[in-house]
Symmetry: C2
Subunit: 489 residues, 2 copies
């Protein structure tokens, strides 16, 4: 009898089931030549005793080995190591020796895109003023139940196959109903393209709508990754100022009189990064200008659900009579940044053109995840979830706003934001953010250097978004204390 217990070294608390550990252990010993083809395996009872495990576990392991072709079980005679082992040995290409090293560089050159910069690594392992939702509040249990329910349903099997490029009918209906009831839109299924988050929405729109040298207007403070999509599509960006009432539409009108504008990118609900809301009068004027001059309004409503003070204002898309507005949103902040489900709401002719590009870029979305989210929407679970987390985020905002006012009002200039998950913080120039950020990082706390907001070259804002959503109140208390010490010492 072989020393099975030492050879197999089974771990009962490991992730992999014990029967698989056993099956894999036996395969390993066959490969090592310890167990020879044709030799008889111990009976299941004997093996169970030798390994001090349940006999059924051994039966399961032998069944697995049999199914894979490593052993052959003969009625009443027992199990034998197979003579024809199922090992997977692909053929080498005759005469070409394999290289001993992988090539560490391409054997050809290619154009480096200077518009898009190298992506930063996400820094999630340490706490701090991250600009995003607290993933501890993600409804993981709801999602998990959703996945399980869908995958165990008989009808769920259709979701494992190829799907409609623009998203399944059920999903588009659910999101359309949600947008219509919460935001006063008047969409139907054919007004929607489901995307991988708002970023893909922007990429698709820029690719389809913007041609080389088209003028796209954004604010002089804006979302850099939208800018990049437009620039990458060949746009010339013209910037207009933003003040407490949002973007300056009078300035926009002046530009319209002189030049042909193709599109404007707006974050009307909470301007990114400054968090201000575009006021009603400017909204009216913006819509009229678009109709008059024929430019497209790309309305990115990235955090519509996050509003604490009064009721939110309905989006521009809700009053779009002439099909000038394209509306973008996502569930990345509502549910989870890793559940990348976003959407574009627009007239059907544009949705079709966008779908064509999405086809060659991605084929389709994630039918299982999208179905889970659609069902949660239809059950009202998303609204219930939002109601709960909004309470939490409002407390966190209030705490951070008050604490920063108490402790750092001489250094940081800001207004309490009506919505969103971040404060737009203008730091005194005596305290350059890049230095401050480095010092905070050494204390294991994230504070953005704010460089991502410096869109005009050479202009140093010394301002940044300080997230209040990511940390609970104790963590925020600690982070602000450390920030104060770092600044004032």
């Amino acid at each position: 009898m072989l020393p099975w217990i030492t050879m197999m070294n089974l771990q009962k608390d490991a992730e992999m089931p014990v029967f698989l550990q056993l099956a894999n252990g036996i395969i390993r010993e066959i490969k090592n030549g310890i167990l020879k083809p044709g030799s008889k395996m111990p009976g299941t009872r004997m093996m169970a005793d030798a390994l001090k495990i349940n006999r059924q576990t051994v039966v399961n392991a032998y069944d697995e080995l049999d199914a894979q072709g490593w052993i052959v079980s003969r009625q009443s005679k027992g199990s034998f190591i197979s003579h024809k082992l199922p090992e997977f040995t692909p053929k080498r290409i005759a005469q070409i020796p394999q290289p001993s090293n992988r090539p560490d560089c391409t054997g050809y050159s290619f154009t480096i895109n200077t518009i898009i910069h190298e992506p930063a690594k996400p820094n999630r392992h340490i706490n701090g003023f991250h600009d995003g939702p607290d993933v501890r509040l993600v409804p993981a249990e709801l999602l998990s139940r959703g996945y399980k329910s869908i995958l165990s349903r008989k009808s769920g099997i259709i979701l494992l196959s190829y799907a409609e490029v623009e998203g399944r009918q059920y999903v588009r209906k659910a999101i359309s109903d949600y947008l219509n009831s919460t935001r006063g839109l008047q969409t139907k299924e054919d007004n929607l393209l489901i995307t991988r988050g708002a970023q893909m929405a922007m990429y698709l729109l820029a690719s389809v709508l913007i041609s080389k040298n088209d003028i796209v207007v954004t604010a002089n403070l804006s979302f850099r990754y939208a800018d990049i999509c437009f620039l990458n599509a060949g746009a010339t960006i013209v910037r207009i100022p933003v003040d407490e009432d949002g973007i300056d539409v009078d300035e926009l009108e002046k530009i319209c009189r002189k030049k042909t504008i193709r599109a404007i990118y707006v974050t009307s609900h909470h301007h990114y990064p400054t968090t201000v809301t575009l006021c009603a009068a400017r909204r009216m004027k913006l819509i009229h200008l678009a109709e008059q001059y024929g430019f497209i309004i790309i309305e990115d409503d990235y955090d519509y659900e996050f509003h604490y003070e009064s009721s939110p204002i309905l989006p521009l898309a809700s009053v779009d009579k002439q099909g000038m507005v394209v509306y973008i949103g996502s569930f990345s902040k509502t549910i989870s940044p890793s559940i990348r489900i976003g959407y574009i709401a627009a007239p059907p002719n544009l949705i079709m053109e966008l779908s064509k590009l999405r086809m060659i870029l991605d084929v389709q979305g994630d039918p299982i995840g999208e179905q889970a989210v659609a069902e949660l929407l239809n059950e009202g679970q998303i609204r219930r979830h939002m109601k709960k987390v909004l309470k939490v985020y409002k407390e966190r905002r209030d705490f951070m706003v008050n604490r920063l006012k108490d402790k750092l009002s001489d250094v940081i200039d800001f207004k309490s934001p009506e919505g969103g998950l971040s404060i737009w913080a203008r730091f005194d120039n005596k305290y350059p953010l890049p230095e401050l950020s480095e010092k905070m990082m050494k204390k294991n706390l994230v504070l953005s250097k704010g460089l991502i907001h410096d869109l005009a070259p050479g202009k140093k804002l010394n301002s940044t978004r300080m997230g209040f959503g990511w940390m609970n109140i104790n963590e925020a208390d600690h982070a602000i204390t450390v920030l104060e010490e770092t600044i004032k010492r």
Copy 2:
């Protein structure tokens, strides 16, 4: 007492939990004005009796209503409809009336992309010779367990946040190990970019590597969606013939002598659509030509795992000494078409450039799904699954090949494919495929018209891929019988 049981109409066997049905029913009646603000709700015991349900269910419903702000519970006094209802009523934009109809067309025009055609709707509801895997064989149970395990782990929370653009380290390590052990590659984590399936891989490669008027060589029969990616990036496509040994590399050499070629697209393992394998001598010559003339080999190994006869030949990428080969693969066929996880293996400098574009297009992949697949790979579950399904697919191939030979050898010319999930079937010109396909569709069976393979305009091949993987043997038997009747009647 109100007629609660009729008003609430609870369904015990519905998907939505009864407590939520009850809570939603009460919200509905508050909105309808039946339940007035300030009025007292029945006690939980009384309500439970009235509705003939468990009291705890009523307690849960009231808790939910309390959390949402619809009712206020006062210690020992009971629950009351809230005076300040939590209804979500966003503000309209003052002075702008909402349109009574949604705009059915954009108010501006845009360029219609004539390279990409309108995507066809997937036709999954009816059976037939679909070119793809049988979703009934998808390891849904394994996936479901994977999701659940990840979402319930404490460490799983990191997967709900933003992730690395190129995929998490754990996932790239798992896929890298898998490629190295099954395909003789020598990749490390920094050689891999995880994509949404092979299609995104092709889109990214075409966008980064191909400039306007670059020459890309493909076979005169090739994968149309690869062609479209290259054409969309501005390439000029030059086609070379394909015979029983794969693409004609002598023809390629002639072109190289005359023109500068930027890249060649090859499906070396099973040529798409003809299923032939590129022979060893041609592989050697192809690699040497790439090194000599400096062109890129884009090797799309879309169905490496599906091989029935001899062992598969290692990919071109396994003998790439000078970094000329970019290798594409995916788990769409191995696991499920809706689990869109693919990868590009290439030198790190190219991976970085591709990651930049992926950032603005998609930000990141699906960390939960990717983690689930990586764990299944590490546990050997994917290989076990493949071993099982390969047996099934081999039987189906053999059945269809034999049956077609028996019944339709005078109409369909084909060879039994060594791998993949489809037969390349050349139909006698007496039976035009578009007509045949229409007739089959009327009998609820899919047979591709083959038009997707007619890459050269005006050339009618009357050939198509007939999938043998999608149907079980009974279904295939029926489908072939119907096909025979349709042809011969």
